[in-house]
């Protein structure tokens, strides 16, 4: 143990200077979800299967779309698995702490209309 401890004086520390130096999670990390409204068919399976009741179906332009409540979400991605159209995918965003609870409610945004149609 003597030698081991002495050798460590000359080694680089293994801790990093977070938050000035960020670490990148591995591929497939279950971070914040990203939802593609163009693929959604409004089946409601994501909301039904969510273990934490973190998805509520809200009305967007006449159809029911999922609204994510990130303060309840446990990031298990059962919603992504249950979705028959793969509309929910994961990103590697994990720094979600905030002082404003309303920023954790992700409302589905209506799909942008293609140019040339009436609004």
């Amino acid at each position: 143990m003597f030698k081991e401890v002495f050798n460590h004086i000359f080694k680089k520390p293994s801790t990093g200077k977070y938050p000035f130096v960020k670490c990148v999670p591995a591929e497939g990390f279950r971070g914040q979800q990203v939802f593609d409204i163009n693929l959604c068919v409004a089946c409601g399976l994501c909301s039904r299967d969510c273990p934490a009741k973190a998805i509520e179906m809200v009305d967007v332009e006449g159809k029911k779309r999922p609204m994510f409540l990130l303060d309840r979400c446990i990031f298990c991605y059962q919603c992504a698995e249950s979705c028959p159209r793969n509309a929910i995918k994961s990103t590697d965003l994990f720094e979600l702490a905030t002082t404003d609870k309303s920023s954790l409610v992700i409302k589905p945004k209506a799909a942008p209309k293609p140019a040339g149609t009436q609004s």
């Binding site: 143990m1 591995a26 279950r30 299967d49 273990p51 990031f75 698995e81």
Partner: protein, 523 residues
């Protein structure tokens, strides 16, 4: 592996032929014994006399409508029995068995607290698992009780009790020695411990009751969050029990992937405990070194499952994500780096003078006490009791993978920590074997959402010991009853016994050596 040739079923049939006992052999080496309330003590006496490994694994309380079911789950050296007793709801009295089998004490208290069975001979004063403000007479696991509507009493100030000349040092609920809150009132005279009074239930979240109002798919995630450290084991126990009811077979690739995830979980948990033990004896350097070497394992869990701690990768029918071939070299390199560091730590735990001074002959648990109290896991294996579910009742891919069972006989804190240290090496071997012999093909099968009526038992070797799951289905999408018995719940009585007669300074290393996880204990 069966340890003896005792045929429990035949023994019971020959000894109890005069009583009204009904024995039904079940699946996978289990048997169900239906017995009337007065005769269950004779069944226990016959079992304890026949086999020294007899111990109560769990006691499930069920609400069967007009009756309350008290199911004793008993493990012996080569069989697992369920002794079913039913008592009427308007007079739920049953006699205790903890004079014949001392491992029953805690389980009987819990059953009487949660479902309201009055156990004669083992009285309960106050609440055992429920908080002090819970009203008397309201039993949460009964079907007519909606737990969120129960009105709790206002908290009362704690009464002062007179211990005479004994000083009461209270360890917990908030204490630097404990990771999670529990209260242990240690009565000392000078510096010697005379008695320990436990109070558990500070983290009781009612998971068993909550699982009855969620679907099976959602319950996998609920059950996983009983414990952060051994979360994959809880998920494994639950999905195995459900798969046994459904009679589905998981494809071989799924079994091997589950084994790899479970063993990575075991390495991570053992490294955590070994480092935490260093902190308890004041050896902060050891703690920092162990946790630094644990970081690559957390990254490995992130590669395998998508999250560093809670894996969420098991589901009914298989695993949720496949192992990519591009990840396998990274896994192998992390494991070989860890293997290079192991000789330094093994030598440290075996030969370093200050560790030996603090851990040898501290908290000694003799073999016969370990057998009688029904302890599990490394606590049992450190006292010479060779029980390991991976060998005794193989599940997943453990039947096909060769590995050694680590048993030491001195029974003190030092033996227990060394058992864990050696098991890390064995886990690395298991993962490498599984990677070498990984079958190809599907890793998951589709299962129906509605589970037909039935019941099943699953036992998993968590890093802390035997984890027990009993699931009863009733033909709907939600389970009727889920009973979880975690290993620390069975090990706490061992601590109450080994702490007596030691000094107060020995209590933290003794305590940490049984690797307490109170989120598991309280569910």
């Amino acid at each position: 592996m069966p340890k003896s040739n005792i045929d429990i079923v035949k023994t019971l049939e020959s000894k109890l032929s005069s009583k009204s006992v009904q024995i039904l052999p079940g699946q996978l080496g289990t048997a169900t014994v239906k017995v009337a309330p007065g005769d269950h003590r004779d069944v226990f006496r016959a079992l304890v006399d026949a086999d020294e490994y007899t111990a109560i694994s769990a006691i499930s309380g069920l609400d069967l409508g007009a009756n309350l079911g008290v199911y004793y789950h008993v493990r012996t050296s080569n069989a697992f029995l369920t002794i079913e007793v039913e008592v009427p709801k308007d007079n739920p009295k049953i006699q205790t068995v903890n004079d014949i089998a001392p491992s029953a004490t805690f389980h009987e208290l819990e059953v009487s607290d949660l479902i309201g069975v009055v156990v004669e001979g083992n009285p309960r004063s106050g609440h055992f698992v429920l908080p002090e403000t819970w009203p008397e007479g309201v039993f949460p696991l009964r079907k007519n009780v909606n737990a969120s509507e129960v009105k709790q009493n206002p908290p009362l100030p704690e009464e002062k009790s007179d211990e005479g000349k004994l000083v009461k040092i209270v360890i917990g609920p908030q204490h630097p020695a404990l990771l999670e809150p529990e209260k242990f009132a240690v009565l000392v005279e000078g510096e010697t411990v005379k008695a320990v009074q436990p109070r558990i239930g500070y983290v009781h979240r009612g998971v068993e009751k909550a699982s009855e109002s969620r679907s099976y798919l959602q319950d996998v995630y609920l059950v996983e969050r009983i414990c952060g450290i051994c979360n994959s084991c809880h998920a494994t126990g639950f999905v195995e029990a459900v798969e046994r009811i459904l009679k589905t077979e998981v494809p071989p690739r799924g079994k091997y992937l589950r084994t790899i995830i479970l063993e990575v979980n075991r390495i991570h948990s053992h490294l955590l405990t070994l480092g935490h033990a260093g902190l308890e004896i004041g050896y902060e350097t050891l703690f920092q070194y162990f946790w630094r070497d644990r970081e690559p394992i957390m990254d490995l869990q992130e590669i395998l499952t998508g999250n560093r701690v809670v894996s969420s990768s098991l589901t009914v029918g298989g695993v949720r994500r496949d192992l990519k071939d591009t990840d396998i070299p990274k896994i192998r390199s992390v494991l070989s780096d860890l293997r290079k560091r192991l000789p330094f730590y093994t030598e440290l735990y075996q030969n370093e003078p200050s560790i030996r001074a603090r851990m040898q002959n501290v908290g000694t648990l003799k073999r016969e006490d370990a057998l009688k109290l029904g302890v599990v896991g490394p606590v049992a294996r450190g006292s010479g009791v060779d029980i390991d579910i991976r060998k005794d009742d193989p599940y997943e891919a453990y039947g096909e993978i060769p590995f050694n069972e680590i048993v030491r006989s001195s029974g003190d804190t030092w033996a227990r920590m060394n058992v864990r240290m050696d098991e890390v090496e064995e886990s690395i071997k298991i993962i490498e074997y599984a990677l070498d012999h990984m079958p190809t093909g599907a890793y998951r099968v589709k299962v129906p959402r509605v589970v037909p009526a039935g019941e099943a038992i699953a036992r998993v070797e968590a890093p802390r010991g035997e984890l027990f799951y009993y699931v009863k289905a009733n033909g709907s999408t939600m389970p009727e009853r889920v009973k979880v018995r975690t290993p620390t719940f069975s090990n706490i009585p061992a601590f109450l016994k080994t702490a007596i007669g030691e000094t107060i300074a020995d209590v933290p290393p003794n305590f940490v050596s049984l690797d307490p996880c109170f989120s598991c204990t309280d569910r």
